[in-house]
Symmetry: C2
Subunit: 279 residues, 2 copies
């Protein structure tokens, strides 16, 4: 489905926003679809306006159109409207108020239980259940699906933000949503119209040179590239996040100390309780 | 970025192909982006024509534009052109010949090592490394990114197929690609122009009623819906896969017996050896 190319300047701008002026990759093929993908920003403040009728069905159709390993379709999604449940889910996520505020809130589920029910009905033991691979393939299925829903939402002028912090307390999420064994709230997703105050820019990413490898793993320029990306992100955070912080500082804060995991270091134990043995 | 709606009949056709005529969801908002997402088919036979110059850069820019947890960017991608490496990777994947054949083959990596190098350079121990959560968040990052690359590729008239079978032997993949500790080949992705013989139709998915839940988990009609989906998939497999097989039969074959896992039941042990302690 080729589309007419966008104007060269919009292509150039999109790449400059995503990588900074000095780290833009060579310009490749381009169209409106790619421009939509490049324009992604996570939005954490929403207007109260509802999403148009039928939006959920469209987003789910897009999500189900993503690839799924061997067509196993090992995911589900729950839509939560009840304000009390929203409030409890927001508390799980460190009081992220956009969970209460957005018109459409979905929790995407790693779901082995549907196919396990199928096996039980057919009188077959589902031998693949206790393995890390099965948990992983199901979680990847859910992520591919959700990303298609995000693209569909953004194409409709809606904004989104993933809520990984559902994993701060997956047992509480399972309790609130009545999840059976073998179902896990992988992440949440807020969908709605961005509030006027949500003015954050497109966030720059690492230059392609440290993310793309050829034939074997390795990027000799990694250290030099990181120093320049730190400068770019320090500038970005000053303009957008009311805090001046390099990428290195942010990564050290999030990954260096256990405290940065917000309790998620217990995930293995919690997953066992939820029916994932991860062997 | 609202686009003019496509013609009603193409919208109706897209939903009928994805769900069958009798299980189409209510028609919601629609545009060319959503139509592109709905049209996805995995393609397993490619023409030898190269992809246009700059395609890789465009796909990676789309991939990097996907959300990434706390901007940690815990993924990388390796492009493999060497025919000998391609051949070995095809062998890992049960001799899937499209891995040898496609003009662009990428292996998407769960990558904790880049940020670990950053911590090491800064003299900080990276305490989050050994946890399941960190492996999971990185794998989800990689999946979100890859799905954007797929959408970008398909918008350019290219086709794709994910290769989950890289996980049949992740240690061999790590050896072939020179992966350092903390890096894991999550899946491969073939990209190229579909061969004329690649005529498979859009694959129908489960009706939305068993995938979407409201407020709490549960779909009372699950059993009846599965019987109808079995009929749809039996018909689809007869027309497209030269084998007549219901969805139930396929799931039982893939998930019921350990043999359906193609060796992936050892993933936990292999991941330990690759530097993921999954605690």
């Amino acid at each position: 489905m080729n589309k007419p190319s966008s104007r060269p300047e919009s292509r150039c701008n999109a790449l400059a926003q995503r990588y900074g002026m000095n780290a833009r990759p060579d310009i490749g093929p381009w169209n409106d679809h790619i421009e939509l993908l490049l324009s992604h920003r996570s939005i954490r403040s929403y207007r109260s306006d509802p999403v148009p009728e039928g939006t959920l069905e469209t987003l789910v159709a897009a999500a189900q159109s993503a690839a799924t390993s061997s067509n196993m379709q090992l995911w589900s999604v729950i839509v939560i409207d009840n304000p009390d449940t929203r409030d409890e889910l927001a508390k799980v996520a460190g009081n992220q108020d956009h969970i209460r505020q957005c018109p459409l809130y979905m929790v995407w589920l790693t779901d082995l239980s549907r196919n396990q029910r199928l096996c039980t009905e057919e009188g077959v033991e589902m031998e693949s259940i206790p393995y890390v691979e099965t948990f992983l393939v199901a979680s990847v299925d859910a992520a591919l699906a959700a990303q298609n829903a995000v693209t569909a939402a953004e194409s409709l002028g809606l904004s989104t933000v993933y809520i990984g912090a559902m994993r701060n307390d997956p047992a509480r999420v399972a309790e609130l949503l009545g999840l059976p064994a073998g179902v896990f709230g992988l992440f949440g997703l807020c969908v709605g119209y961005a509030a006027p105050k949500a003015t954050n820019q497109v966030k720059p990413r690492l230059p392609q040179g440290v993310v793309v490898h050829r034939e074997t793993y390795g990027s000799p320029q990694e250290q030099g590239i990181r120093a320049r990306y730190d400068d770019l992100m320090t500038d970005f955070s000053r303009r957008n996040e009311m805090v001046e912080q390099s990428w290195t500082t942010k990564v050290l804060g999030r990954m260096g100390k256990l405290a940065g995991m917000n309790g998620r270091e217990t995930l293995s134990t919690v997953l066992h309780r939820l029916g994932f043995r991860l062997q």
